[in-house]
């Protein structure tokens, strides 16, 4: 009697379990399918025009005059890569040093105070960063170095600051995840704190740190509002750090409101190019971090 009861209860639990698993599966796949739908839509809208005008003229052409049916994306491709590289040059050293100080050299009290502040930085809307860039940074660059001020340099600095929270918090997590025994062992062998960081902690946390850089890069290349406001948006390959530049994201957002017909398709094509670039960068970064992990 009790045995049968127990078996029934067990069956019910099992059934519930299956139901919950199914429900979770459906929800999880709907998230993935949204991604799939977006991808299919962008590619479907953007690729026909690329083949109509030739992939080469699209990717390597340097004239962007949609009203004359000239859709050269080369300046924007270079622009996006230049601004992203600039953001990493500025953001990564600052972010990593900050992470190292926070995990290894700062007291617990300081850490408890500073970490939430840094995470708060991530919550500031990009339009605010852009506005501060226009009001403070751009005039400064114009006065100090010349040029219009709206430039690769201004965009790199602002984006560099914007990726700091990402780089810092993920690197801090990675460094903190290193087992204490590594640290202790290194100190016991007579290494200084800095030697410990450089030779033991850094290699041990490398994959996490690389992930932080990848995510920062993703944020920098995808950022739109701040870039539109401070980069100057000239559709020309920048010849110096002080030249204005247009990124792929700016290109879409800037002209979206007026675009019809082939112009609109060309903006979707811009999205396709951005998509491919982001995928390529992520793949490269993931591959390098995976290889390093193997050789360790």
């Amino acid at each position: 009697m009790t045995g049968a009861k127990r078996a029934r209860a067990g069956n019910r639990l099992e059934r519930n379990d299956r139901l919950i698993r199914l429900a979770l599966l459906v929800v999880a796949f709907s998230a993935v399918s949204v991604l799939l739908v977006i991808t299919v839509f962008i590619v479907g809208q953007g690729t026909p025009i690329m083949f109509r005008y030739g992939l080469k003229s699209f990717l390597a052409g340097s004239d962007w005059y949609p009203s004359e049916k000239l859709f050269g994306l080369w300046p924007m491709i270079v622009g996006s890569l230049a601004v992203t590289a600039g953001a990493l040059v500025i953001g990564v050293p600052f972010g990593l040093s900050c992470a190292i100080v926070l995990t290894e050299f700062a007291s617990k009290k300081v850490r408890r105070l500073i970490k939430p502040v840094i995470e708060l930085l991530a919550g500031i809307p990009s339009v605010v960063y852009g506005f501060m860039g226009v009001v403070i940074l751009v005039p400064f660059i114009r006065r100090a170095f010349g040029g219009p001020g709206l430039s690769v340099l201004a965009a790199s600095i602002i984006l560099g600051v914007m990726i700091l929270p990402t780089v810092i918090s993920i690197s801090v997590d990675a460094l903190q995840a290193v087992p204490p025994s590594y640290r202790e062992g290194s100190i016991a062998l007579g290494a200084t704190r800095w030697q410990t960081v450089r030779m033991v902690l850094f290699p041990a946390a490398r994959s996490g740190i690389i992930a932080s850089v990848i995510l920062g890069m993703g944020r920098a290349i995808g950022e739109t509002m701040a870039t539109i406001m401070i980069a100057g948006n000239a559709a020309e390959v920048p010849h110096s750090l002080l030249a204005p530049v247009r990124t792929l994201t700016s290109n879409v957002a800037l002209e979206m409101s007026y675009a019809t017909g082939e112009h609109r398709e060309a903006l979707f094509a811009t999205g396709v190019v951005l998509f491919v670039i982001i995928m390529a960068l992520n793949t490269i970064a993931n591959a390098t971090s995976a290889r390093r992990r193997k050789t360790q």
Partner: protein, 265 residues
């Protein structure tokens, strides 16, 4: 920023509710298009609706080209365009409801008071890159333009540039307001905006000896003038007709003058 949002809303509306594209259904009149005309159309609609409480007038932005497109597809009864219709768009009926001067603006500290039209053309083509040959300081000119598809850019292209392209290195901004903002803070900058939006932060240049004033536009000496158009498929009828008649009436045109535009009647 605002017009980008408005356009988003418009695009979303068009994408999500194809059923609503039917023109003339219900009692609503929809206008869409040029963001330069939008604030004036809002004013007209406001006054018009006070007299006609039985139906609403809905004004949306999106830009001249988008407005023309929306009108053609039937998404709105009246499209607003701040540039002349191009070859392929001539099948639509266009009515000039006001005219707007285009001002070439520089920083107030710039010693140059006026330019010849060919010089302006060469500056925007990237052939003249320094203020020096124009009588200014030996500094590099910061050229500020609007993005492709903008009615203001279209009008400038047509009135000043002709077949010549605006050069690639020009700084590109997406509204009259941001162009003015950039020029107001960069002593070497030059840009173009709607004459009605010129304020003390920038200076409008005289062109070919004629100052950018309403008077000089009226007597035809200042020639950077663009029409503000209402376009429709076929002769406007019903609510659209009533609204256009109101806009062209003495009362409607008085609003135009008050807001810094030039009346057509």
């Amino acid at each position: 920023m605002r017009h980008r949002f408005a356009c988003f809303a418009l695009a979303l509306g068009l994408a999500l509710f194809p059923g609503c594209r039917r023109a003339g259904s219900g009692s609503d009149l929809t206008l869409a298009g040029s963001t330069s005309i939008q604030p004036f159309a809002d004013k007209w609609a406001e006054v018009f609706m006070q007299a006609h409480r039985d139906y609403g007038v809905n004004v949306q932005g999106g830009g001249s080209s988008a407005g023309i497109e929306a009108c053609r597809s039937g998404a709105c009864q009246i499209g607003m365009s701040s540039r002349e219709l191009k070859g392929g768009e001539r099948d639509l009926v266009a009515i000039v409801v006001a005219r707007d001067g285009l001002a070439v603006i520089v920083h107030p500290s710039n010693p140059i008071r006026g330019l010849r039209a060919p010089d302006v053309k060469q500056i925007f083509a990237g052939d003249i890159t320094s203020w020096r040959p124009l009588g200014g300081p030996d500094k590099r000119i910061t050229v500020v333009t609007r993005e492709e598809g903008s009615g203001t850019r279209g009008a400038f292209q047509e009135l000043v540039m002709g077949k010549t392209r605006i050069f690639r290195g020009a700084i590109t901004e997406d509204s009259n307001g941001t162009v003015r903002e950039i020029v107001a803070h960069d002593p070497q900058a030059i840009g173009f905006i709607s004459l009605g939006l010129v304020n003390a932060a920038v200076r409008a240049l005289a062109l070919d000896g004629a100052a950018a004033t309403d008077e000089n536009i009226q007597n035809g000496r200042y020639r950077l003038v663009r029409p503000f158009l209402f376009v429709s498929r076929g002769e406007p009828a019903g609510h659209a007709r009533e609204f256009i008649d109101f806009v062209l009436s003495a009362e409607g045109q008085k609003l135009v003058t008050k807001e810094g535009l030039l009346p057509v009647r």
